[in-house]
């Protein structure tokens, strides 16, 4: 298993799309800094009694939301890139245990996604603090880093979940287009649809959507997102695990059964 892990790590590191994804995540962080600067600019331009009416989304959470799609795409590419070129045959002749290949890819992708996500969230937080300073802009938490860390860790965990979801969808569909389409559906389209179904089902279903889980896990709820917030932290963690475990199990069974 160590050999498979090391091989998949080498493979992911030398994949061109990996650096592209990292580049996009860096751009996301830069955009967040720009957004912070723009918010400050707007806030300063308002008369003091109207400043409370300006509300800006929590920048680390926004960064997380965008980064989760980027790293989910990385998860997709970690598998579908090999199906597209036929390299998957080479992979399975080099490492004949398909379960081990899936496990190794999942471990590598999860760790990379978690670390990248945490770095993006922390960088966004730092940039936001630097630019906004102590201006009390609505939506921007003035909490210390140590108070915010549980949320940031939960956000990074949710990025890892999205990346694994992408990886498993790619293993199941074998097509980057189908996998990314399914991902975007879960990431963006589904929350909008769920938000529009009648209460109380919008909140019930909204609470178990993957994008709504990080806030519930950290116990901060989802004040700005479309998702609900009915789950306890433990239940949110279980839901996160299920969003990974179910596609993973399907992928493992299909990989073992199918010809390559």
């Amino acid at each position: 298993m160590i050999d498979a892990l090391a091989a998949e790590w080498l493979k992911l590191r030398t994949l061109r799309s990996t650096s592209v994804v990292f580049g996009v995540v860096a751009v996301v962080v830069a955009l967040m800094a720009l957004l912070a600067w723009y918010a400050v600019h707007l806030w300063e331009g308002l008369p003091p009694d109207q400043r409370d009416r300006l509300e800006v989304s929590s920048l680390p959470e926004l960064a997380n939301w965008l980064a989760s799609l980027c790293l989910a795409v990385l998860g997709v590419l970690a598998f579908s890139g090999e199906y597209g070129t036929g390299m998957i045959r080479t992979t399975f002749t080099v490492l004949p245990s398909r379960g081990r290949v899936l496990a190794a890819k999942a471990a590598v992708v999860a760790v990379v996604a978690f670390c990248t996500g945490l770095a993006a969230v922390l960088a966004t937080y730092a940039a936001g603090r630097l630019i906004i300073g102590d201006r009390p802009i609505q939506g921007q938490s003035a909490e210390t880093l140590s108070r915010q860390m549980p949320l940031f860790l939960a956000l990074s965990l949710s990025i890892a979940m999205f990346a694994l979801l992408g990886l498993c969808l790619a293993a199941i569909t074998r097509s980057p287009v189908a996998a990314v389409a399914a991902l975007v559906a879960v990431w963006y389209v589904l929350p909008i649809i769920v938000n529009n179904i009648p209460a109380p089902w919008n909140e019930r279903i909204g609470s178990i959507l993957p994008g709504a889980l990080a806030g519930q896990l950290a116990g901060t709820g989802n004040p700005q997102s479309l998702g609900g917030a009915l789950l306890s932290p433990l239940a949110a963690l279980a839901a996160m695990a299920a969003w990974v475990a179910v596609p993973y199990a399907v992928a493992a069974v299909l990989l073992a059964r199918r010809d390559v």
Binding site: D3, M87, R89, T93, P96, V260
Partner: protein, 294 residues
């Protein structure tokens, strides 16, 4: 040693391989021949554990491929030279394989040198010609210094130098006692490289035979100013003689030495004595009924 036993593989209702049995023995190059769609690539994929057979089995060194712990150290395979992501470099591509099979990085470098890609070891594969990709695929096959090699169409896209290089490489590997299974469409190349042939058609075994039996001497062409007398003498000695359109005689059943001695005894002058073989291509066409199956 590769053993294919009663192997059957279906894709939906199409039978790709149908009860195929053959052995590939060490110490010689075994050519794997058959028309397009005969099941060669399918058989190779089953041997490598990529496709699951409907029934039967394929064993490498007595084990199923997917039971081998570090397969690259026992079996080297080249299936599709195009199957490399274009963004990778030869060094990067071989490094992860080596890591997966606990092969040292020094071996990666020497394999790259062995196939003549040292100058482009850090260039992206995307810009490579088919010939260079074939060389990279061969480097991957040789990486683990395996005793068994499976190569599907390795000479595709290689220039004449490359074709010759791979012929000598494979013959050398077989001479070291390794098992080499080689598929190719190029009959003349196969005739020069392989010692033994496995020919399949429609997923079934057509021939499993030494090369020399397929390309054996067919007849001896004899010319003489007294062709009539010679024909009589040869027939009397037990040969089967047929006149050719240009006045020559096609003789079967007697070898050139016997024909020469006989002519001398009868004082018949000989102008030409040429043993004529069958090319592998002719035999192959006869055995497979010519052309592709599907």
């Amino acid at each position: 040693m590769i053993e294919v036993r009663e192997l059957t593989k279906r894709y939906g209702r199409t039978v790709a391989v149908d009860g195929l049995t053959f052995h590939v023995k060490p110490g010689r190059v075994t050519g794997f021949l058959g028309p397009n769609g005969a099941g060669k690539s399918t058989t190779m994929r089953v041997i490598l554990g990529l496709d699951r057979p409907a029934s039967g089995e394929a064993l490498v060194n007595g084990r199923r491929y997917d039971r081998i712990r570090h397969p690259m150290r026992e079996v080297g395979a080249l299936l599709d030279a195009g199957a490399v992501q274009g963004g990778r470099t030869p060094l990067g591509h071989l490094s992860w394989m080596a890591r997966a099979n606990r092969i040292g990085i020094a071996r990666v470098v020497s394999a790259i040198e062995q196939v003549g890609l040292a100058g482009v070891a850090r260039k992206r594969v995307g810009g490579f010609s088919l010939g260079m990709r074939q060389r990279l695929g061969i480097a991957a096959a040789l990486l683990g210094d395996p005793a068994v090699l499976l190569l599907d169409e390795p000479v595709n896209g290689l220039d004449p130098d490359g074709v010759r290089w791979i012929r000598e490489l494979l013959r050398g590997l077989a001479a070291e006692g390794r098992t080499v299974l080689l598929s190719s469409h190029l009959m003349s190349e196969m005739e020069l490289t392989a010692d033994h042939l496995v020919i399949i058609g429609r997923g079934r075994l057509i021939a499993d035979t030494p090369m020399r039996e397929l390309t054996a001497v067919r007849d001896v062409l004899v010319r003489s100013s007294r062709a009539g007398d010679l024909a009589g003498a040869l027939s009397a000695a037990g040969g089967t003689v047929a006149a050719e359109d240009d006045g020559g005689l096609s003789v079967r059943g007697l070898d050139p030495e016997e024909i020469g001695d006989l002519a001398a005894r009868h004082a018949i002058p000989l102008h030409e004595v040429t043993p004529r073989g069958v090319s592998l291509e002719e035999t192959y066409m006869r055995l497979t009924g010519g052309g592709a199956d599907r």
